[in-house]
């Protein structure tokens, strides 16, 4: 297992870790309050309110909530379908909460999978995600082109018997860069995405375009480059016959020559990681 040595984290990374922890706390708090009949819209609002109460004013993107077969993006054709609907939760249903708050100028983007009561299929998917977390870190440390890592993740999913569902995200991304965001008094959002964050992403894209890299980690040619230093919100998303599961958390990539320091997960004290540790 790989961990950042927490005490030595630079101030900036500590800021990112604070907001990531806050977001996961929110996910756990909201998940605990979900009950039969709660709709996706209500769950999204619960996340938004919980975070607003704790000082979040801007978003990389507004909270999402997917229930039932929408966790696997079944029959998703247009991006508007990602937005919360009136689908109500029922016992045994899987759900995914996905939120990206900006707190004190630091961005997090997290994904939390769970189910109302027992769902053996999703349990299995979550357990199998561990291999992906290890694979991604290992190959990033090897400085493999992102496109190849993407394909290796794909192959692992197929071998496990699952379908790649992050392919459904805009540009089919498995990850995207996150960064600091300027705090403004007014922070509007566009199609659920904070304009400040979009601005940052666009600036990165422009930069990257000139230098030959992209802030979006996709299966396409523009991702055919070694990992770019920075913070990447990585979100492998598995789907299996109407059930989906994902985690999303920040991977720190640096230009250090020491492999251990060249890439590491920002935080190893997250619900899904704890869960894998408990299972052992």
């Amino acid at each position: 297992m790989t961990t950042a040595v927490s005490s030595e984290l630079p101030v900036e990374l500590q800021g990112f870790r604070r907001v990531q922890r806050l977001a996961y706390e929110c996910a756990e708090a909201v998940a605990a309050r979900l009950e039969p009949g709660v709709t996706e819209r209500e769950a999204a609002r619960m996340q938004r309110e919980w975070l607003r109460e704790r000082g979040v004013r801007d978003w990389f993107h507004l909270p999402f909530a997917w229930f039932g077969d929408r966790t696997a993006f079944v029959n998703f054709r247009i991006p508007l379908q990602f937005f919360p609907t009136d689908r109500a939760l029922a016992p045994g249903m899987p759900f995914i909460l996905d939120m990206a708050p900006v707190y004190e100028g630091y961005t997090a983007d997290i994904g939390y999978s769970g189910s109302l009561g027992v769902n053996p299929v999703q349990d299995r998917l979550m357990a199998d995600l561990e291999a992906h977390r290890e694979l991604i870190l290992r190959e990033v440390r090897e400085r493999r082109p992102l496109r190849e890592i993407y394909e290796d993740v794909d192959r692992l999913m197929v071998r496990q018997g699952y379908a790649n569902r992050h392919r459904a995200y805009p540009f089919g991304v498995i990850a995207h860069k996150v960064d600091r965001v300027k705090q403004r008094r007014w922070s509007p959002h566009l199609f659920g995405f904070g304009t400040q964050s979009l601005k940052g992403l666009a600036a990165d894209a422009l930069h990257g375009h000139r230098e030959g890299w992209s802030p979006l980690w996709s299966p396409y040619r523009f991702s055919d480059h070694p990992p770019q230093p920075g913070l990447w919100a990585v979100e492998p998303h598995l789907g299996f016959r109407g059930t989906g599961a994902k985690f999303e958390e920040i991977l720190v990539v640096t230009d250090s020559r020491d492999p251990e320091q060249s890439a590491f997960w920002l935080d190893d004290d997250l619900p899904h990681v704890r869960r894998w540790a408990e299972a052992k």
Binding site: V121, V158, G161, P219
Partner: protein, 588 residues
């Protein structure tokens, strides 16, 4: 003494009720849950002999001759002696005699089912029936309401349903004529009936029907005369079932439309639907399947869980069936195994790669297969396949559905394809299918209770290509083999389907062999074609869905992707276009 067609060990007793004497036979351990089998018209309890022996080792099986049938006596006078009320009296008398303190599991076929519907919907039997399995016999009350609803609001579809069932009921009108049916049954019809059953209904001969047939049929005409008109004109408004019901519908029934059961949920709170491709006399023609479904249903009701676990597409058709898929470790094979698992089938996942097969079996159990096993075998290896077949038949039983899916890709000019290449691709793609059909199909045919074979061919079977000479040849052979086998097995009610998927996103590209190039170039081409297939991104799950649909509807040739459909159409009407496409050398 038992009649010749009753199995050995059947214990007989006589039960007196309402002026008649009923002949009751019992099998199995009386401590076990009691299953009561009620026969139809024109039959006697011997119609159940095949099913009864299959149930006897798990249950206390009870059969009785309905009054006026077999060795039960007939009421005097006959008119008015066969009303549903009197039949309910008989049933209660039998149940009180054979299982005084436990409710029984009721199973009815044809008129046995019609009267059982009465038993399970009247108040006085409440607490005496634990479950009811109905075959080919609707409740007359539900039937009456079904007709009323269609007469009162006659949409074109509803009128069609009404006329359809009206035509299927021709014999009911005949049975209402006085004296004639009796004369016919005691005369020429009674004599010819066994032959008619064999020819039109495919009921195997032997010791069924019993010699009592003419008098059974003559007395039984009163079942119709005493009940049908009265109930259809004035159906009871409160005919709600007070026990869980399993409805088994044979889709080829010449006497009953499957549409009759469309509104059944409103009468039955706990309904499990099953369908099977067969004709009316399923206790004779499909005893294995019928017994398996009864056993599963009774066991689950006894365990307090009346609804089945699997809820996927076609769960009514494949629940509990045994399905074997080759090449189930990845791609279309794996997706097919999962689709069958979701429909509640028992799955045998076969693959060269033991780990991948095990994974498929494990996930199959997760999504609804009551049982799933992994087996390792190379389909091109004759001995391995023989060993596999031997093991499967011994440990799991005769297959209901076989999916010959395993295949490999091979691309390259005809002149760079070596004889070894040819051998390899034919060994897997063609011989694998031949071994599967030969070893598993033979047992299916021998059992004589239907089944289905699916061979995964390819759109390359009708789309020629200069880049795929060997692969296309092997797949064209599979297509023709499927067609020939379909013709041969039609008489045994075994369907054969060739599926022609087209370009599907599976790992066949990354394992395909490219001839005439060095290793590095081969790897590059594999990667490149994998990417192209990935961009096309047609999921194997859709092919799996097509497989299940094809089996359900017994289709002969099924092209799946739009390009495969297009090519299939062109191959019939404009083959010149396909020949033109075949000349294009694809850039890899």
């Amino acid at each position: 003494m038992t009649t010749p067609s009753m199995p050995k060990g059947a214990r007989e007793r006589r039960v007196h009720t309402g002026g008649v004497e009923l002949c009751v036979a019992e099998l199995g351990d009386p401590q076990q849950p009691t299953v009561v089998l009620v026969h139809g018209y024109p039959d006697s309890k011997e119609v159940w002999s095949e099913v009864a022996v299959r149930l006897a080792d798990r249950f206390h099986v009870v059969l009785y001759d309905v009054r006026g049938h077999g060795r039960s006596t007939a009421p005097q006078p006959l008119r008015g002696g066969f009303t549903l009320t009197k039949l309910t009296d008989d049933f209660l008398a039998v149940v009180d005699a054979v299982s005084p303190d436990r409710p029984v599991h009721l199973v009815g076929h044809d008129w046995g089912s019609v009267q059982s519907w009465e038993f399970v919907t009247v108040g006085r039997t409440e607490g005496r029936i634990a479950s009811f399995t109905s075959m080919s016999g609707p409740s007359l009350d539900h039937f009456g309401h079904w007709i009323n609803a269609r007469v009162k609001r006659p949409t074109p579809r509803r009128v069609g349903q009404l006329l359809g069932q009206g035509a299927k009921s021709w014999y009911v009108y005949l049975l209402h004529t006085p004296a004639l049916p009796e004369l016919a049954w005691r005369g020429p019809l009674g004599k010819r009936w066994p032959k008619i059953l064999q020819r039109t209904e495919k009921v195997p001969g032997g010791d069924y029907p019993t010699p009592s047939l003419p008098s059974d049929a003559a007395h039984g005409a009163w079942l119709y005369r005493d009940n049908v008109r009265a109930r259809l004109l004035r159906p009871r408004p409160d005919a709600y079932a007070h026990a869980p019901v399993q409805l088994i519908t044979p889709l080829g029934d010449a006497f009953l439309s499957e549409r009759l059961y469309d509104d059944l949920e409103q009468w039955v709170p706990q309904l499990t639907r099953r369908t099977l491709p067969a004709k009316h006399w399923i206790p004779r023609t499909r005893p294995d399947q019928v017994a398996a479904w009864i056993e599963e249903f009774v066991t689950s009701v006894e365990g307090g869980r009346p609804q089945p676990k699997a809820t996927g597409r076609h769960a009514d058709r494949f629940g509990g069936q045994l399905v074997l898929v080759t090449g189930a470790g990845s791609g279309i094979g794996r997706a097919t195994a999962f689709a069958f698992a979701e429909a509640g089938a028992r799955v045998v996942a076969v693959d060269r790669d033991a780990e991948a097969a095990a994974r498929t079996a494990e996930l199959s159990r997760l999504v609804g297969a009551p049982e799933a096993w992994a087996e390792t075998a190379d389909v091109s290896d004759e001995q391995a396949m023989e060993k596999l077949a031997e093991k499967v038949h011994r440990a799991y039983g005769v297959l209901d559905v076989l999916v010959n899916n395993a295949g490999i890709g091979l691309s390259g000019s005809f002149f760079t394809t070596t004889t070894d290449d040819w051998r390899r691709v034919l060994d897997v793609n063609l011989w694998g299918v031949i071994h599967g059909c030969r070893l598993f199909g033979a047992r299916m045919a021998e059992r004589g209770q239907g089944g289905h074979i699916v061979n995964i061919a390819s759109a390359a079977a009708f789309q020629p290509s200069r880049a795929l000479p060997a692969y296309s040849t092997s797949k064209a052979a599979v297509l023709m083999l499927s067609e020939c086998l379909r013709a041969e097995l039609a008489a045994q009610d075994i369907g054969v389907t060739a599926i022609c998927p087209g370009i599907v996103n599976t790992n066949i590209t990354s394992t395909a062999r490219f001839t005439g190039v060095d290793e590095a170039e081969e790897r590059r081409r594999q990667k490149h074609s994998a990417r192209l297939y990935g961009l096309r991104n047609y999921p194997p799950e859709k092919v799996a869905k097509a497989v299940l649909d094809a089996v359900t509807h017994n289709r002969a040739v099924v092209p799946v992707t739009p390009e495969a459909r297009g090519a299939h159409l062109l191959s019939r009407f404009m083959p010149g276009v396909l020949r033109g496409i075949a000349r294009v050398e694809p850039k890899l």
